[in-house]
């Protein structure tokens, strides 16, 4: 297999990386909002968030992507397929991340909140200075896991017409008759990216002040 083919795969990996990264970050922002609603004491507020999560966790990502890709033009939104792909991945990862965060917030030991209460912190100060940093470190390993899952799931966005690593390998394989070389190269690229995410994650986790308990 020529270097030129591998270079084409690497270029396609740019799509894989950028779509995944944007989706993870947008998903995280959305997940913070969702988890806050999930922790509400009012059933009425929780219900829509719970519905959202059970839908996006309960329907295969492939179906979600096809659904969103076809739904957007149907309701009059003509957006590039990359936007549809990012929306699909974002909503899906937000559902998972929201559940992680909710668990994280609920696991902040009560005593740490009581100590802040006694020190005169307001509800807002407790949230920002105590709950968020501790929930973050409690959910950090799960967040890294989710980033890896989304990176791999991004191979599915080929169904909405994005030529990322998987799709590129498929296209090249059918034109060059070198499927083994191309798919093993694609696997290698995924492996290296995921391994890097895990490594960065582990390093960041160690660098968190006070360590993760």
């Amino acid at each position: 297999m020529s270097f030129k083919l591998f270079f084409l795969l690497l270029k396609a990996a740019g799509w894989t990386l950028s779509i995944s990264l944007v989706s993870i970050l947008l998903g995280f922002a959305l997940a913070i909002g969702l988890s806050a609603v999930l922790l509400s004491s009012k059933r009425l507020y929780r219900a829509p968030a719970e519905l959202f999560i059970s839908f996006f966790r309960g329907v295969p990502l492939l179906v979600q992507l096809l659904f969103i890709y076809n739904l957007l033009p149907f309701i009059g939104l003509n957006v590039p397929s990359v936007v549809a792909a990012i929306i699909g991945l974002t909503l899906c990862t937000a559902a998972y991340q929201a559940e992680n965060l909710r668990g994280g917030f609920e696991s902040v030991p009560r005593g740490l909140i009581e100590a802040a209460d006694m020190a005169g912190f307001s509800v807002r100060q407790i949230f920002l200075r105590i709950k968020v940093p501790i929930a973050m470190r409690l959910t950090f390993p799960a967040l890294v896991n989710e980033a890896i899952m989304i990176l791999k799931s991004s191979s599915l966005v080929s169904v909405v017409g994005i030529v990322e690593v998987t799709k590129m390998a498929q296209d090249l394989a059918s034109s060059t008759y070198l499927p083994i070389e191309l798919f093993s190269s694609a696997a290698l690229i995924y492996l290296v990216i995921c391994w890097s995410i895990a490594l960065i994650g582990r390093y960041t986790e160690r660098a968190l002040p006070g360590g993760v308990k």
Binding site: P109, G111, L112, E114, A115, A116, D117, M118, A119, G120, F121, S122, Q125, R129, I130, P133, I134, R137, L208, P209, G210, G211, K213
Partner: protein, 263 residues
């Protein structure tokens, strides 16, 4: 006699259908060390937590230096909850030390002690850290200022927790079994800090199984059993000639373990 630092009147606390505190009347004298003793499940920790408003009582009143804590009696004689800002204001007179230390794991010892000054009281960083450092020095941990809680022993963590409470200049310090999570060797260093604090005239309420500490440092001992306050008195009255049969039975187990030489 002056106004009691904390006055508990007819306090009742229920968890669901279980009554854990029944008609508690207790005056915590200012500048003295009051100890709450009793078997596990007697309600002593719950009573202390009510004094910090970490538990809301079901009936009765608590005043802190004359100010109502959490609830007040309105003109019609009904119990009414005070607004949150007022609860915070009254509570600011109280410092609390917990059994599990409850240090914030993502902050250093210095961070734990200076955090409330910075976040709540908006004291400039350098001044807050100077004041925090002074408190750490007082508990003998100035050389551990930049350690995280996970890098400290239990005894050191509890001393940081005491410094954290003291840095806000409370008038009253509450201790909820401060040495129960520590092995005997580390218990001593925490009790020494508490002894120093008592010698300075801090008003203290201590829930503890350290009968020796209660006997030697305590000025007033209250004995709780099954949610009732059975007896309050001077240490000599409680330990030397326990008059209540239940108290006698409770103390026997401790005196057996060699505490008798202390009383």
């Amino acid at each position: 006699m002056t106004l009691p630092a904390i006055n508990v009147k007819k306090l009742v606390k229920r968890f669901g259908t279980a009554t854990v505190l029944q008609d508690i009347d207790l005056e915590v004298p200012e500048g003295k060390v009051s100890c709450l003793i009793g078997p596990s499940g007697s309600g002593k920790s719950t009573l202390l937590r009510c004094m910090a408003f970490l538990e809301e009582s079901s009936e009765g009143m608590i005043t802190v230096n004359g100010e109502a804590l959490g609830f007040f009696e309105n003109a019609r004689g009904e119990r009414e909850r005070l607004p949150a800002a007022q609860i915070r204001a009254v509570r600011s007179q109280i410092g609390m030390v917990f059994q599990q230390f409850n240090l914030w794991p993502h902050m250093t010892a210095l961070g734990n002690v200076s955090e409330a000054l910075k976040t709540v009281h908006k004291v400039p960083k350098t001044e807050a850290e100077d004041r925090a450092m002074a408190q750490l020095k007082k508990v003998g941990l100035e050389n551990r200022a930049n350690h995280y809680p996970s890098q400290l022993s239990g005894g050191q963590q509890q001393r940081v927790a005491i410094a954290r409470a003291l840095t806000l200049s409370p008038k009253i310090m509450l201790f909820d079994e401060p040495t129960s999570a520590l092995d005997p060797e580390l218990t001593g260093e925490v009790l020494n800090v508490m002894r120093d604090l008592a010698a300075e005239g801090m008003t203290m309420v201590v829930v503890s199984h350290e009968i020796g500490f209660a006997a030697t440092v305590g000025n007033q001992i209250s004995f709780l059993d099954q949610g009732r306050l059975l007896f309050t008195g001077a240490p000599a009255d409680v330990f030397a000639k326990p008059r209540h049969p239940r108290l006698e039975q409770f103390l026997d187990t401790y005196l057996d373990r060699g505490a008798s030489m202390l009383v």
